[in-house]
């Protein structure tokens, strides 16, 4: 039985070639990543799997940035408490980010690591890219 630690994978990946999925700005500055299948991954992973991953991520981000009742309440509450609430409670966005991180890790374990790939959380790069160390 041998399993590879993601740490080791990341370390080696940092030196290896990487594929970057850039942001899709067609709808403004909302966080959204391009679903275009990079050519470098042609042979590594199925197109549908990749697109599913990216689309799920985009959905997560859209949910986090959605302007609705929850965000309004959050704002009012924060304002009312002179933003002291932020000391106690994490924002909705942060909660979604946690969900995303979990999702990415799950994807890595199930789909990408067996294929020798790895998805890095875009938040680590300022939400600019989704990197795929090859």
């Amino acid at each position: 039985m041998s399993f590879h630690n993601l740490q080791e994978l990341r370390h080696s990946a940092s030196l290896a070639n990487k594929v970057f999925i850039q942001r899709d700005y067609s709808e403004g500055t909302t966080c959204k990543f391009q679903t275009k299948f990079p050519s470098e991954l042609e042979s590594r992973i199925e197109r549908t799997l990749f697109e599913d991953t990216v689309k799920t991520l985009n959905n997560y981000y859209a949910e986090a940035e959605k302007i609705g009742g929850q965000s309004y309440l959050e704002g009012c509450l924060a304002c009312a408490t002179a933003y002291l609430i932020f000391l106690c409670m994490e924002t909705r966005y942060e909660k979604v980010l946690k969900k995303i991180a979990k999702y990415i890790q799950e994807q890595n374990e199930k789909i990408y690591a067996p294929r020798g790939l790895l998805i890095t959380d875009p938040i680590e790069r300022g939400m600019r890219v989704v990197s795929f160390p090859l």
Partner: protein, 802 residues
């Protein structure tokens, strides 16, 4: 206050924020201490609590604006930018809601800044949705803290208004105790609040405006969306909603990386797809070869080879068997040259001395010499010609440029090759066809009014744009052939001239040879005005004649035909049909030139080199000489006509006044290097007459207008082109004006028809004062061609008027 480094911790940076903080806190504190008690008692006890809450909000927002990460984008790690660092363009365009937004490469952070992102020089980091760097909070205002900043401004404004108002009330109620402590403090407080209220109010209003427009301060100041569409705005209401209710973006920088262990168990999956990395297909220049090969069906390899070569390589020994193909090449070259080649005279060393001699006005080098010269470099062209011939009509694209230089040189080598007759004409055709329409008119003007080589005149000098093209063609292609060919195409292009009946026949114009520049050269050279023999003599003595003969002898290449499908087909046929001895053909085709042609032919084939060489000067010297010759002839004609037309046309006869010298351009007006005026040779006269017929229509209007300088006058618009035809037209007009006047040639016969229009033309004459410039402008390139076309049109119209 975020700081990115030791450098950012400048003490001076904290002064504004400290000042602001002190002022805010201090003033408010004083207000609460000294003013609020009285307010609570006097006005309302709720006043102080409200003010306190308000002040609290101000502080909170101030703190958030000061200490909150504005949305700093962390620097890109090395692996992300290793490709972009050195080769990436500075800007990358991205489409945001249909609007092209430019993303700039941030040299400090090593990534392309997302839209609305900007790099703060004070903080030295890129900030998302960068608004500005506020010194009062010593922080960048960006995506994450803009709301707090805006709220800070709002609350501060309200707070300041409140403090000012209440303080004022207090002071007003304590006017008698103004210098008491409470009052004094309140006065100070209201003065401070009053003083800072104005800028804060202005700033608040400004940001309200920005929010409503969906812009950031950075965008407003830089004027990004001043006149365009802002793709980032959601509308005024939605913008406010987003501002107030929008989510708080997460922090990017300084996040703890959660490295979780990923346990991977076999089996390790591999996709079925073969590992084949996409290979970048680079263009290593093969495309050019392909293009070349496509263009030239024959000798493609050679063509490409030639193209690849840098300054024109010497072509192989010309093979006469390939000459025709080469002609096609030349025509192709002509295309290229026309479209692309700037003035780049192919360096034909052998021809240089000849050209120089001609330019100097010295006796032209015997054609034999020219022929020799041409033969030597001519080897190159055969290959090219063959190639071009195969694709004469096709691919006259600009992209043939690379082929041009070698082709040019090759063609130049083949210039004097008798077999390249068609090529030259083809080039002319192409130039006329593809080139600016100025070329066409030039050709026509040439063919019509003057003997100057239809191609040479327009191509060589008259067409600035295509001058190189045509000029090069002239130089490169065989002179006589080229000349003759050009005549044909030009004729074809202007059917109206044909209708005018150069020879009274609407058939295709006489063989191009009739209008070949050779005649021009011949006539030009021959001093005798009306004597056929002089033309011959001139021909013999001058280069054009030999070239012309050589030209005559050349058999137009099939490419020629291909080049002029529409108009010149017939003519090309005619030209092509011209046998090498061509004289017979000439007789059939060109009336006016018949004699001269015969004469020329009688003199034997002379290497066309002289003619081709002459083209070099056609633009200047030849044109000038031609003009002069025409003037002479016109003068003579006018003299005769005047006598005859006096009775016929009365006032209009003025048109036929003896062409005084004043009407003609001064002799000194001559392109530099041009030869002295030479009386038109017989051939030239014939030529002029025949061409004059064509130009007659145009002329008729100017001529009809009575003017002393009728001879040289023409439609104002068609100055230069008319010049070429002016002489001829004038002559023709002169002839036609007097029915009794029997033109010596047959060419004049059609004139009467055209001349009959003269009387009607006075009204249509554009201007009669354009005479003098006619000759002067003859040398002008474009104008002549352009006006020439207009002339042609006019002639057609005139013809119809009949």
């Amino acid at each position: 206050m975020p700081s990115s480094g030791a450098d950012s911790l400048k003490p001076s940076a904290f002064i504004p924020v400290c000042t602001a903080a002190c002022l805010l806190v201090g003033s408010t504190s004083l207000f609460f201490v000294f003013t609020c008690p009285w307010l609570a008692v006097t006005i309302c006890p709720a006043v102080p609590p409200c003010c306190a809450i308000l002040f609290l909000l101000v502080l909170a927002n101030f703190t958030m604006a000061t200490f909150m990460d504005a949305g700093v984008l962390p620097m890109a790690s090395e692996d992300e930018d290793k490709d972009d660092e050195f080769r990436a363009p500075l800007y990358k365009n991205v489409d945001v809601k249909g609007v092209q937004v430019r993303m700039k490469w941030c040299a400090s952070c090593h990534f392309y800044r997302p839209p609305r992102c900007s790099h703060c020089s004070v903080c030295d980091h890129c900030v998302e949705d960068f608004d500005h760097h506020c010194p009062w909070v010593n922080n960048c205002i960006g995506r994450r803290n803009y709301r707090y900043f805006f709220m800070f401004l709002l609350t501060l404004t309200v707070h300041m208004i409140g403090v000012f108002t209440f303080g004022l009330i207090y002071v007003l109620h304590h006017m008698d105790d103004l210098w008491k402590l409470h009052c004094t403090v309140t006065l100070v407080v209201i003065s401070i609040s009053g003083l800072f209220l104005i800028p804060v109010l202005g700033l608040t209003g400004f940001h309200l405006y920005l929010v409503s427009r969906g812009r950031t301060t950075n965008e407003q100041v830089t004027g990004k969306f001043q006149g365009g569409v802002n793709p980032f705005t959601r509308g005024c209401c939605n913008n406010l909603e987003y501002l107030v209710c929008g989510p708080l973006s997460p922090r990017y920088a300084g996040r703890p990386l959660k490295k979780t262990a990923v346990h991977i168990h076999p089996p390790f999956l591999r996709p079925e797809i073969d590992r084949q990395m996409a290979l970048k297909v680079r263009d290593n220049g093969l495309q050019s070869h392909d293009v070349q090969k496509k263009r030239s069906s024959a000798g493609a390899v050679e063509l490409s080879d030639v193209k690849l070569k840098t300054p024109p390589p010497l072509p192989p020994k010309p093979d006469h068997g390939l000459m025709k193909s080469q002609v096609a090449v030349t025509e192709e070259v002509g295309h290229y040259t026309k479209s692309i080649i700037p003035v780049s005279i192919p360096t034909v060393p052998q021809l240089r001395p000849v050209l120089e001699a001609i330019s100097r006005g010295s006796s032209p080098i015997p054609p034999e010499q020219l022929l020799k010269a041409s033969d030597q470099p001519g080897t190159r062209s055969p290959d090219l010609r063959s190639e071009s011939r195969d694709s004469p009509v096709k691919g006259v694209q600009q992209d043939h440029m690379p082929v041009q230089p070698p082709l040019q040189t090759n063609t130049s080598s083949l210039q004097l090759n008798s077999l390249t007759l068609s090529s030259r004409s083809l080039t002319l055709k192409h130039s006329g066809r593809h080139g600016s329409k100025s070329q066409l008119p030039n050709m026509h003007s040439d063919s019509i009014g003057s003997n100057p080589p239809p191609g040479s005149v327009p191509s060589s000098g008259l067409l600035p744009n295509h001058s190189s093209l045509s000029y090069d063609n002239l130089i490169n292609s065989e002179g006589p052939q080229f000349l003759g060919q050009r005549g044909a195409p030009s004729v074809g292009y202007h059917p109206h001239f044909m209708t005018l009946g150069s020879d009274g026949t609407l058939i295709q114009r006489p063989s191009p040879h009739a209008y070949s520049p050779v005649f021009m050269g011949v006539t030009r050279q021959s001093p005798q005005p009306r004597d056929p023999s002089p033309s011959l003599q001139g021909l013999s003595s001058r280069d054009p004649s030999p070239s012309f003969q050589g030209f005559i002898q050349r058999d137009p290449s099939p490419a020629f035909q291909g080049l002029m499908p529409r108009d010149l087909v017939s003519q090309s046929l005619t030209s092509r049909d011209v046998p090498p001895p061509s004289l017979a053909m000439r007789d059939v085709t060109s009336h006016s030139l018949r004699d001269s042609l015969r004469d020329l032919g009688a003199q034997g084939l002379t290497p066309p080199k002289s003619a081709t060489v002459r083209y070099d000067n056609f633009s200047k010297t030849i044109m000038a000489s031609i003009q002069e010759r025409r003037e002479m002839e016109e003068r003579d004609r006018m003299l005769r006509l005047q006598a005859r037309s006096q009775a016929l046309y009365g006032p209009d006869v003025g048109v036929y006044d003896i062409p005084s010298r004043r009407s003609l351009p001064p002799d000194n007006i001559r392109p530099p290097g041009s030869r002295g005026p030479t009386p038109p040779a017989y051939g030239s006269r014939e030529f002029l007459m025949s061409t004059g017929i064509l130009g007659y229509g145009i002329r008729s209007s100017p001529l009809s207008s009575s003017s002393t300088s009728s001879l040289t006058r023409g439609p104002k618009t068609s100055s230069s082109p008319l010049q070429s035809s002016s002489s001829s037209s004038l002559q023709s007009k002169g002839r036609s004006s007097s029915p009794a006047y029997c033109p010596p040639d047959r060419h004049t016969q059609p004139l009467p028809s055209s001349t009959s229009t003269l009387p009607r033309l006075p009204s249509s004459s554009t201007s009669s004062s354009s005479s003098t410039p006619l000759y002067a402008t003859y040398a002008t390139t474009k104008r002549s061609s352009l006006t020439y076309s207009s002339e042609g049109k006019e002639s057609v119209a005139l013809g119809t008027l009949k």
